[in-house]
Subunit: 207 residues, 2 copies
């Protein structure tokens, strides 16, 4: 059983490696990883060595290899069936986003209360939009563990209740409102793209 | 001049504090910050003490206060004029997102090549959509430092060229493609919402 702090650091390496992949970087040194994560290089090398990643002396680690290796260690390199609730502008953008599939995340169904959207299909995968009372059946049938909420703030709590009722444990909430879980097992993460603007603002102010 | 590693850690605290605000948490201990960041508690306390944040003995730090304090230290608690290029599903969702304004980010204009969108206004702030050849003039007039790219991948590099030509230094790229900057001063960040799914997948697999 990997200690929680190590898992946290591994997920930080993973996120940074993702960004390096986007930037087309092929090799990274522990020194550079240290600059990018705020963690010290000896700690990084210790973590990676523990998991059998030694890098190439004088060169560094191969980014894509290390990224895939960490996905495996963290147990996330598998297929995940996902549902999305709230098929508005943001929801539709996510339903058409090809990268989810590439990393093993399959949005298999979407849900909305708007009758003009129910029955329509979105994205290259022709994802069907259904009424919310189908969530439980779909979640069971497809072993859905993750749900994405992209409804207006005022609907988000009600939607969370339905998602938990369907025994889906992971919830990614895009609505800018605090949600109250009904079950201990429920994990809620909040996405706020303000964070991306803040990161850029830091880079500009500190350059 | 704050060392780069310290700035990195401050921005990590800032991001974590953002999440705590979303979760409605009011007080946080250095121990809890350590669990959430993967950094050790003495390092966290040392950083915060250096900047005059002592917390309350036996209680911890007040989340909103610490968050605002770090924004100030990092120099990002000011108004920023931002532009967005690519007014599709994702672009429109961002133009309607109220939280940007709240944190000081004002999307003052949007740009698109689609004639049916040019001249239309989006979001509660009625943001106008203009042709790309207006970017330079708008960027100068409004001292725009950050641009958001939400076009299809095939247009993203061309759009980056126009943005750099307009002397905008910060670029937040949502298109899943590597971009090549033309100027040394340009900062490009890549947003990939797959990262959010990965983080949730970790939490589920490691619980
Ligand atoms: N986290 C971020 O960075 C970020 C960025 C942009 C938007 N947002 C948020 O994402 C959410 C969606 O934004 P949008 O611009 O796509 O909104 P939208 O109004 O375009 O879409 C909302 C959709 O939700 C549906 N809906 C309403 N109530 C519902 C319910 N009870 N069950 C199921 N579906 C329901 C509507 O019919 C509509 O299709 C908003 O809460 C917005 O604030 C967050
Ligand atoms: N990073 C992520 O997590 C994430 C999530 C969803 C979508 N995306 C990406 O965001 C982008 C937009 O997605 P979408 O679903 O909104 O697409 P979309 O097709 O709905 O919108 C694209 C918009 O860009 C405009 N456009 C095309 N070429 C242009 C140019 N040269 N200059 C200005 N505007 C131009 C189009 O007219 C259209 O309005 C895509 O690249 C998509 O892959 C990323």
């Amino acid at each position: 059983k990997i200690p929680e702090a190590t898992i946290k650091r591994l997920s930080i390496y993973h996120r940074v490696l993702n960004e390096l992949i986007h930037e087309g970087v092929e090799v990274v040194s522990s020194h550079r990883l240290s600059e990018l994560t705020g963690l010290n290089a000896p700690q990084i090398r210790k973590d990676l060595t523990y998991f059998g990643e030694f890098g190439v002396r004088g060169v560094g680690y191969f980014v894509i290899h290390l990224h895939d290796s960490i996905r495996e260690i963290l147990g996330i390199n598998k297929k995940w069936n996902v549902i999305l609730v709230g098929v508005g502008k943001l929801g539709q953008a996510l339903l058409s986003y090809e990268n989810f599939e590439k990393q093993g995340y399959h949005i298999i169904a979407a849900f909305d209360t708007d009758p003009s959207k129910i029955g329509k299909k979105f994205g290259t995968n022709e994802i069907p939009v259904m009424p919310l009372d189908n969530i439980k059946k779909i979640a069971k049938e497809y072993n859905v563990k993750i749900a994405i909420i992209t409804t207006p703030s005022e609907s988000a709590q009600i939607v969370l209740n339905v998602i938990e009722e369907a025994e889906i444990e992971g919830v990614i909430n895009f609505a800018p409102i605090k949600l109250t879980p009904n079950k201990k097992v429920t994990k809620i993460s909040y996405v706020d793209l303000v964070t991306e603007l803040d990161k850029m603002a830091f880079k500009i102010t500190s350059s």
